[in-house]
Each structure stands twice: as C-alpha cells, then as structure tokens.
Amino acid sequence: MKNNVKSASLKKANRSRAMSLVVFLGPFLLVFFVFTILPVLVSILVSLTNFNMLEMPGFVGLDNYAKLFLNDSVFTTAIQNTMIISVITGPVGYLLCFGFAWLVNEIPPKPRAFMTLLFYAPSLSGGMSAVWALLFSNDSVGYINAWLQEFDIISEPIRWTVDTDYMMPVCIIIILWQSLGTTFLTFIAGLQTVNRSLYEAGAVDGIKNRWQELYFITLPEMRGQLMFGAILAITGAFGVDGIITGIFGFPTQNYALHTIMHHLHDYGNVRYEMGYACAIATLLFLISIIANRVVQFLLDRVGK
C-alpha cells in the first residue's frame, strides 16, 4: 500500500517534470529551429533554384555555384577581400584581445576595471562611423589629411575612402580598433579563473619568466575560453559589412572593399536573385565552419 502511494506520486512527479521540460524548452527550441536551423536548410535548397520572388522557382542544380566561380569576377574580388580582411583582422584581432586581456589582468583591480572599459568601449559604441568618416575625409578638411599636410608629409590630400591603394589599410585599422569585444571580455574572465596556486607550483617546477608561465600554465588552463573567443572572432571576421558600408559606402569604389556579405546583400536585397544569393550564403556557412574547425584543431595543441 505504502509502496503504491510512493510510486504513484513518483509517476506524478515524473509527469509534471516532463511537462515542465516542454514548457522550459519549447519556446526556445521552436524559434531556434525556425530562425537558425531552417535558414541553413532553406539557403541550401533555394541555392539549387533560380527563385527570384516573382516567378515559380525552377530547379537548376549547381548552376548558381558554377556561375559564381566561373562567370562572376566581382564574386572572386569579394572572396579575395573577405579573405584579406579576415586573415588579417581575425588572427590579429584575436591576439590583440588576448594580449590586452593578459596585460590588463596583470594590473591591480581598480585601474583594471577602468582599462577594461576603455578597451571595450569602441565595440560598445557601434562603430562611430561619423567620427571615422571625418578623420579620414577625402579633402584637406579631414583631420588626418590636415595633420599630414601641416607637417609637410603630403602635399595633396589623400583620398582615403576612394583611393583603392588606401581603402584596405584604413578599413583594417577601423575594424581592429573595435575588435576588443566579447572575445576580450571572455579572455579577461578566463585569466581571472586560472588557479593562482598553479603559478607558484610552476615557479617551484622551474618556470622562469612570464612568457613560460603564459605558455605552459595560463593558455592550457583557459582552453575553453580560447576556443569560444576564436569562434566569435572568426564569425565576426567573415560577417563584416556594416562598418564598411558606413564609412566607404555601398558598393565601394572599384569593389575594393566588396566582401562576400556585400555580394550577398547585393543579389539578395537589391536584385532579388534569391537562388544566386542563397548560393553565396551557403558558401559563407561552409567557409566559416571549415575555418572554425581548423582553428579548433590548432588550439587543441597549445601547451601540449
């Protein structure tokens, strides 16, 4: 009798627990599926058609991909630009995040809080494109030009935002300026959780300076944060477009800063060639996953 009551109440508890599982998880999972998983599947499917929002879509196989690689020189430029931007701003931004987090972590708590705010503020401020636009203005009204002329370094103002020789470096400086974002905070937090006694034990075991300490103790201890930071850095580097549009316009002069995201936007939201645009999106998914896998593989070997 007693046993029966117990198992009945247990069953009831289990049932209510299963109910609560649905209530807790349901809303998130539903929306996550519709707006995160489904878009990947939709992108792949639509990329195999010639859908243009007006006519019935027809199946075209891999035509869109063939056209992208064989007939679209702007796309080749976009891939090149994206690669240059992400190969430079990705790793450099990542190292900056780590370097600054490490340095900031070495100083006492009060100045540390201040420096953290100072370094993180650019990414909080959402780009400040107006400031950069005026700094790098094309005429001698622009502050950089004015100063360079004042010190007789140049005689004619440099046309920063339309001269293809200068656009890429300027763009990279601006992206790096605001690269100390979530990754930076993650690293500071990671550094603060490393067990202090490991450092003293390491000193006894023959670690001589802060560099050895960094490589043999700190880095392996915060591998989880390093990986999370890498993911944020990679997806950020491949998805760059808004900050470029804000300062250099869209499309940029001679496509000098045309990225894959710009190309996607151009075909998707301007020309409504959805099939073609979705092929671009699918490729971008693929590239970012491959890049992430490679970086995770490399990070796995740190300090081993």
Binding site: L25, F28, V131, L134, G190, Y199, R210, T235, S288, I289
Partner: protein, 326 residues
C-alpha cells in the same frame, strides 16, 4: 620557533592570516607581544607575484597607456567635436580639444529631429521598445531553456546541446536572407515580429547562460526537490536569483546589439525605424552636419556604456563560464 626579540613576534592563533588588500598594497598587520595591533605594514602586491621583473612591469604599463590613448582617441575626438562651435570645427590645422565649448550642436540636433516628418520621440520609442522587449525575451527564453539543457536528463539532450554549439560557428549574418524568405512566408515583413520573435531563439544567449547553470551545484536542486518544490518554483526562486550575473551580462550584450541597430532589411515603414537609423540619416547629410553628427555619436554611446559600467563585475563572472566544453 620561540623568540622574544621585537621584530619576530609570536602571533595569536587566528590573527596570523588577516591580510587586507588596499589598492595595489597589501596591508600586513603588526602585533605587539600581547597580540594587540600596533600598525599596518604596507607591502606592494605586484612585487609579491612570482616570475615578474620590474622592467617588464614598466614596459607593460607604458604599452597599456599608449594603446589606451589610441583606443580612446576617436571617442575623445567625438566628444570634443560635439562641443565645438561651427568656426572651430573647420579650423586649419584642426585642434583636438575644444577651446570654446558650446552645446549648440546638441540643440541643433533636437531642432532637426523635431522638424522631421516622423517625430523624434517616435524613433526613440521604437528603439526603446525593441531594446527592452527583445532583451526581455532573450533573457527569459535563454534562461528557461538553459535549465533543462544543463540539469535534466532526457533523450536528445546531448544532440540539442551539440547542435546549438555548432550554430555558434556559422557566420550568422549569412542566415539573414533565408530569414527574410521565412518571415515573408509568415507575412511578418514590415512588422516588429521580425525583430522580436528571433530574440527567443538566440543560441549565443543560451550558450552564455548554460555555461553558468552548469556550475550550479546539483545538490541544491535535489534538496529543493526533496522539500517538495516543483520545477517552476526551483527555476524561479532558486536558479534565477543565483544566475543574476549571467542574465545581467546578457542584458548588456543585448542592449548593445539592439540599441545600435540601424536600418534592417525587414522594416520599410519610416515610423517603425530605429533611432540609430534616424540619427544616421542626419549625419549622412554631409560635412555641414559634422558637429551635429558628433553630438549624435556621443548620445548613442551613453546607453551601452552605462549598462556596461553598472554590470561590469557580473560580466567577468559570467564570461568565466563561457568556455567551450567537448
């Protein structure tokens, strides 16, 4: 260890460990023979750490200062320029710091905004509504989902967790176009549903909160269950208060995202557009608006920076649990 000289004093048990930290100094209490406190001896904290050279410390501080100036420069410049009167804006060569500060640019900003076809207050309302609404949805949905995904045992938990982690690796903006197609299928284009609903399924938010819940001791949850608390009660009265650092962090990231959101592909109607978009339109009118657009940049910066300042310590605590686990 028995000695009666003045400098090596036997300390009473229990007082020996009492070391306070004040700034970069560590206060070491000194006691007299009877164990009464005489004075505090200050000892530099940095020097106490192993494997640090003084030269390295100096280099480090110097480097941080230089980098700090570079990072702060555009912001100082924006603040200074927003306070410049018109003639000072076009001075050649330009001076970095304003000489005769004025709030004329801020006044102009409000004049321009109140003369626009859609009133300024409407843009402000839009941005506030979306920022608060979407942030609320993100926090609630991510916290609710994180609890079972971290603490319940059920079929499919592992695969769901892995899938969510996988999606962090996508370049998310690439999904924008397909999202547009899906939303136009639902007939949501040009409504706020496009901005609010996706906030319920943010995998980044879930990842942050989940990492934090993982650290929460199972024994506390078990004890509450034995006391007869239901899952909703456990979630609301035990988990949520203890997860405060995690959702405070999420609030900062979310406010930053939505507050800075400009034009989106989902919204066409002027009266539904955001403050950032409206202010961007003024700045786009060219060099004549230089002072006003600096004022705009300063105004837009205030909200995210303030939320960050209030919650900084929570953020560090949360990000410490954000690492990837295999």
């Amino acid at each position: 260890m028995k000695s009666n000289t003045m400098d090596t004093v036997e300390l009473p048990v229990g007082k020996k460990k009492k070391v306070e930290t004040v700034g970069i100094f560590r206060k070491r209490p000194k006691y007299d023979e009877e164990g009464n406190l005489i004075y505090y001896k200050k000892k530099k904290l940095i020097k106490n750490r192993v494997n640090r050279s003084a030269g390295g410390d100096v280099m480090m501080v110097l480097f941080l200062l230089i980098a700090g100036v570079f990072m702060a420069f555009p912001m100082i410049y924006a603040i200074s320029n927003s306070l410049k009167p018109l003639h000072e804006l076009w001075l050649f060569p330009p001076n970095l710091i304003v000489r005769n500060p004025t709030v004329a640019n801020y006044k102009d900003m409000f004049t321009i905004l109140s003369n626009s076809t859609v009133p300024f207050t409407r843009y402000l309302f839009n941005t506030l509504f979306i920022t608060i609404g979407a942030t609320f949805l993100r926090v609630v949905s991510a916290s609710m989902a994180a609890y079972p995904l971290s603490k319940f045992k059920f079929k499919g938990r592992k695969i769901i967790n892995k899938t969510i982690t996988m999606t962090l690796m996508f370049a998310a903006p690439a999904a924008g176009l397909a999202n547009y197609l899906i939303m136009s299928g639902f007939g949501w284009i040009d409504t706020w549903l496009c901005l609010l609903v996706p906030a319920l399924g943010s995998s980044f938010s879930l990842h942050l909160i989940r990492g934090f819940v993982d650290q929460f001791p199972d024994s506390v949850l078990e004890a509450a269950r034995i006391d007869g608390a239901g899952e909703y009660r456990i979630f609301w009265s035990i988990l949520m208060p203890n997860m405060k650092p995690a959702w405070m962090t999420l609030i900062v990231f979310s406010v930053k995202d939505y507050w800075n959101q400009g034009a989106t592909i989902y919204i066409y109607r002027e009266e539904l557009k955001s403050l950032n978009y409206a202010l961007g339109q003024i700045a786009a009118e060219g060099v004549a608006r230089a002072g006003v657009s600096m004022a705009i940049n300063v105004i837009m910066m205030i909200v995210p920076v303030l939320t960050f300042l209030i919650t900084q310590s929570n953020i560090i605590e949360t990000m410490a649990t954000s690492g990837m686990k295999d």
